[in-house]
């Protein structure tokens, strides 16, 4: 079962949330960030080229122009491979764990898997980000030494930064699965 809804992030950009319901114990949430806009790409390229041309008229050295080409290309490749995140996915599998995937614009995927035994809870928390107060979803991990303590807080959807309405949807679905886990773990 799959459905898609449109939300907005904290800056007003458009986010698409895809929810896939594979089974009662396995759900996937996929947030697609806004794509690289042609306008910003053109603006950056034009400014780099204007600066290079200004330097060229000053120094009369054509190496500056070739260097500008290389810088633009490498910068774009580096940005696509290391910085620009296209999609963030949260896969929650009951009794196995939670998997967080970020896929970059160049196709690279970076995955983190957290075992269910380590997960204490999934909550929505507030944080101060620059001049705003935002909500974010995070996973609380258990502390092995202290039974009621929290060892780590893992934020989810860090790059997409959706708003509260999107977070509530994800939170409700995750809590259903976690409640199911608690119900089955308490029974002998």
């Amino acid at each position: 079962m799959e459905d898609e809804r449109v939300f907005s992030d904290i800056c007003g950009g458009r986010l698409a949330l895809q929810r896939r319901h594979y089974s009662p114990s396995c759900r996937e949430f996929c947030l697609s960030c806004p794509r690289l806009s042609l306008r910003s790409l053109t603006a950056v390229t034009c400014s780099v080229w204007l600066a290079a041309y200004a330097l060229f008229t000053l120094f009369e050295n054509s190496v500056i122009l070739s260097a500008a080409i290389f810088i633009t290309l490498l910068g774009l490749l580096g940005y696509l491979h290391f910085v620009k995140i296209d999609q963030e996915t949260l896969l929650i599998i009951d009794s196995l764990g939670i998997q967080l995937t970020s896929s970059y614009a160049s196709g690279k995927e970076s995955t983190t898997f957290i075992e269910m035994g380590k997960v204490k809870d999934i909550i929505i928390n507030e944080a101060i980000y620059m001049q705003k107060v935002i909500y974010y979803l995070c996973i609380l991990l258990k502390d092995p030494l202290e039974p009621h303590g929290i060892s780590q807080v893992v934020p989810v959807f860090q790059n997409a930064k959706p708003r509260l309405d999107c977070l509530i949807e994800v939170y409700r679905s995750c809590q259903e699965i976690l409640a199911h886990r608690k119900a089955t773990s308490t029974s002998p």
């Binding site: 594979y22 290391f82 896969l91």
Partner: protein, 540 residues
């Protein structure tokens, strides 16, 4: 609770048979290790399982049946036969995996599950496919989340996925049986290397033991010689601590001792460290031999030897020019003529001594350089450290000048600060380590102020000499520092780990990654477990 079945990817196309593996009740997961094909004799299957259990201290059992058939022909006979097997090999829960031949429709039933009464039935089953080879080999480098298996008598309770990794690693004996070997029991699983076919590799393995013993004995002899009392007489340890060649030689000796120690590596991390050291030694020697070959080919040693004395002369001449410049009016500053002349003549005399020293050494230069080149056999790092030592020796006069300049400057600053305190009517209290007021006599004040004025006016001269020689010394230190950086890089570059990351990334697995395969309603959920390599460059 959901029942998880870990199924190896190599068995997905195997013929029908029995599922053999381990049941982990705490995780309610079944780890399938192999499929036993028909025909088989139950007693022999049980014997095989007992043997593997004894070898790996892991509790194996027959978990269920695997049916790979065409759905159009139900094969009722096979079905009843499979059900009958449940009576011979009792296991709770009993799994019945079925796959349609040529299709992707899987069905899985678990009889006797869930254990607790009152829970809804049918219980959900999850199929997780894993690659046995990757899981077995990545066990060598388990990340922090999955602990290493302890070599104790009782296997410790490992949580979560670590149990799966643990099970696969301990059942290595099971993977050694060959698929094509006509034995009593036919298994389907990933095959490990088996018996080595090449006689050279076998010989190398057999010879490695005595070779290690002999080499470690020789190395212990060497280190005993190095530690003997003769080398503890005073000038030698001091000189040895200053020469980077001795340091590097000691470092390499330590590496060799670690590498050839007859004890086996205790943990995979130590094994990797040993192999890294081995490869760095190999690279070192290879680069050194390449350098040697290049020097021989271009006859560089002769050219270097011919060029060395003129270069040293040139450097000395430049220094003389510098001193003449300082003795005049450097950068338009007006120096104190008398002090300038004294210092300038003092340093010029030193340079004169130095030039005569270099000329004295010139016949031996070629021989020394030839021996340095020969030392490249021991490794490029040794040659580089020798080069760094030679640079230090050749620029010894710059070091001396720096020391003289620094001493003079230090004396001047101390004098100035003390007389400044006197000028203000204060004194340094040594007992209390602080500045106290003090009443001086008139003649003390008079002489103190005079001396203070003299020192203040001599300050620019000394400061300039100090600055110039410090900069020269910094230049030499920078050159030596970059050489040492290169040496450290060759010493500590983990080539084996880098190679593993490029060629066999699953061995450096950082964690696991799950992918949901095509899912249909009513069928069990299927996941694929992969082992992605560590992401060194991922921004957090």
């Amino acid at each position: 609770m959901v029942l998880k079945v870990f199924f190896p990817t190599c068995c997905t196309s195997a013929e029908s048979g029995l599922l053999v593996g381990r049941w982990v009740p705490e995780q309610s997961s079944a780890v399938v290790l192999a499929v036993v094909h028909f025909p088989f004799i139950p007693i022999q299957v049980k014997e095989l399982l007992a043997r593997v259990q004894q070898a790996g201290r892991v509790g194996l059992a027959v978990l269920g049946t695997w049916c790979h058939c065409r759905l159009q022909e139900p094969e009722e006979g096979l079905g009843r036969f499979l059900e009958g097997l449940g009576a011979i090999f009792t296991h709770e829960p009993w799994l019945q995996l079925c796959r349609e031949r040529g299709g992707s429709v899987w069905s899985c039933k678990a009889l006797g599950w869930p254990m607790s009464p009152g829970a809804p039935s049918p219980a959900p089953v999850m199929l997780i496919f894993y690659d046995q080879r990757h899981v077995l080999l990545s066990q060598l480098h388990t990340p922090a989340t999955l602990p290493d298996p302890q070599a104790g008598d009782a296997p410790p309770s490992v949580g979560g996925l670590a149990a799966v990794f643990d099970t696969v690693a301990r059942s290595e004996l099971l993977f050694r049986s060959d698929r094509f070997h006509e034995g009593p029991v036919q298994l389907s699983h990933w095959q490990s290397e088996g018996i080595e076919a090449s006689i050279l590799v076998e010989l190398a393995k057999q010879a490695s033991g005595p070779t290690c013993l002999m080499l470690s004995f020789l190395l212990s002899l060497l280190s005993a010689v190095g530690a003997c009392r003769l080398f503890r007489l005073w000038p030698l340890p001091f000189i040895c601590s200053k020469l980077s060649t001795c340091e590097q030689a000691r470092h390499r000796l330590g590496h060799l001792t670690f590498l050839f120690s007859p004890r086996k590596a205790e943990s995979p991390v130590q094994l990797m460290r040993k192999v890294n050291v081995f490869f760095s030694l190999l690279l070192d020697v290879a680069l050194g031999l390449a350098l040697l070959a290049w020097l021989r080919a271009e006859n560089c040693i002769g050219q270097l030897a011919d060029a060395l004395v003129p270069v040293a002369d040139c450097v000395a001449e430049e220094l003389q020019h510098l001193l003449q410049w300082l003795m005049g009016a450097p950068a338009g500053l007006k120096m104190n003529r008398a002090l300038d002349q004294v210092l300038g003549r003092f340093f010029l005399y030193h340079i004169h001594l130095w030039i005569s020293y270099i000329h004295l050494m010139s016949p031996f230069v070629e021989g020394i350089l030839w021996h340095v080149g020969l030392s490249a056999c021991l490794g490029l790092t040794v040659a580089l450290s020798l080069l760094s030592d030679i640079i230090a020796l050749l620029t010894f006069h710059i070091y001396c000048f720096y020391v003289y300049g620094a001493r003079l400057y230090c004396l001047k600053i101390h004098g100035l600060s003390s007389l400044w305190r006197l000028f203000r009517g204060k004194k340094w209290n040594v007992l209390r380590q602080r500045v106290d007021s003090c009443s001086y006599d008139l003649d003390q004040l008079f002489i103190g102020t005079l001396l203070f004025t003299i020192l203040v006016f001599l300050l620019p001269t000394i400061a300039l000499y100090y600055l110039v020689f410090t900069l020269l010394r910094l230049l030499v230190v920078a050159v030596q520092g970059s050489l040492h950086l290169l040496i450290d890089l060759i010493n500590s570059l983990p080539l084996y780990s880098v190679g593993l990351r490029l060629c066999r990334p699953y061995r450096l697995a950082a964690g696991v990654k799950f992918r949901v395969l095509d899912h249909e309603a009513g069928k069990p959920l299927r996941l694929l477990m992969q082992m992605p390599p560590e992401q060194a460059l991922s921004p957090s």
